[in-house]
Symmetry: C2
Subunit: 203 residues, 2 copies
Amino acid sequence: MQGMTTDKTRALRADAQRNRDRILDTAEQYFSEHGVSGSLDAIAKQAGIGAGTLYRHFPNRETLLAALLTARDDALVARRDHLRGGSVNAADALDGWLDAITAWAGAFAGLPEPLRAATTTSSSPLSVTCQGFITTTEEFLQAAQDDGSARRDVRARDLFLAALATSWVRGAALADDASAAALAELTRNGWATTRPARAVDDR
Amino acid sequence: MQGMTTDKTRALRADAQRNRDRILDTAEQYFSEHGVSGSLDAIAKQAGIGAGTLYRHFPNRETLLAALLTARDDALVARRDHLRGGSVNAADALDGWLDAITAWAGAFAGLPEPLRAATTTSSSPLSVTCQGFITTTEEFLQAAQDDGSARRDVRARDLFLAALATSWVRGAALADDASAAALAELTRNGWATTRPARAVDDR
DNA sequence: CGATCTAACGGAGAGGCTCTCCGCATCGAC
DNA sequence: GTCGATGCGGAGAGCCTCTCCGTTAGATCG
């Protein structure tokens, strides 16, 4: 609207860009090791920058998390496009999509919590991401409902939350992966219209 | 085994007992208002005692929480006994029990989190409580399986976690009670053997 | 009803966290 | 090379959890 700014916000200064990347790299590793509640100051120190720099780039934990996650969005988007391809039936597509979300939400220990919060807050940088995924869920659900393989009284938002919840349970049960699978199965039985003939081991 | 101690640990000194009660009362109120993450020091101050006193009685947040919850166990136990009475069929009994757990886990904002952790940690004061409830769930599930109203491939532990998860979702969706109900319904559809004829509004 | 012996108290403070503020260094356009 | 504008970094404020230990005050006993 007014100057030579490169598109949106003006391009970052070289050092700023370098620091931003450093932070992202370090945070990715740090959160992987310590979960999303790891100390931000520790990340700054490990990245070799001052705390102020970190907080200027990412005013709070959520913003940092959001930046980290959009970098990972690609995988999910790819999965979505593959499922959209139509190589599987609507029910399996929805199932696969929910599975992908569950896996995505498990990227870091403790991640489901802020995601859940973002789902309802709408004022968090994460909420945009979540909203987008809910919309996609809507799309898959719609298709499954249209061909009669999903109950009509389920809402996409709730399926999304169920996927988050499954991931949340998994976070606890390090010792017991079966629980997460069981919950996912429970969910599928919940939204599907047909009695599942397949055994529990299928998933 | 050795003295005039009243049964287990020797009886508390009068002031100690008084302080303990004060803490419990204050914490109950404080957690209700601020969620389970509220400041413990603030509770001590509000209770009119020193921080040291609080931490001597309850070495950490979990211990305090556990004490608070056992005080509430009664309601749940009562519910259990009522359901055991046999006035309803096995499926509804299981359903009612899971509902009771969900409500119980919603006593304070953020409570599901430590409960989930306790479910797998086994070294937390909360885990005893959780384990007890899982056992009861087992009992109701068994009955429902025996009369053919619950699938055989579900485990009590997973139903318990599902109830916790439902409560967890509700915690987020202050604006949207429907989500919690939807999840509960999803769960029921998940474990029940019969296609639910009833509409979603029934729950 | 003191005297005495402990159990229990309370708050200062260590250590860790989030986040802000602002003097200073550095970048990059000219 | 000069000179804004932009970005850096770390000291420190404020809050939290939890500990330590000198002091207080129940309980018990002659």
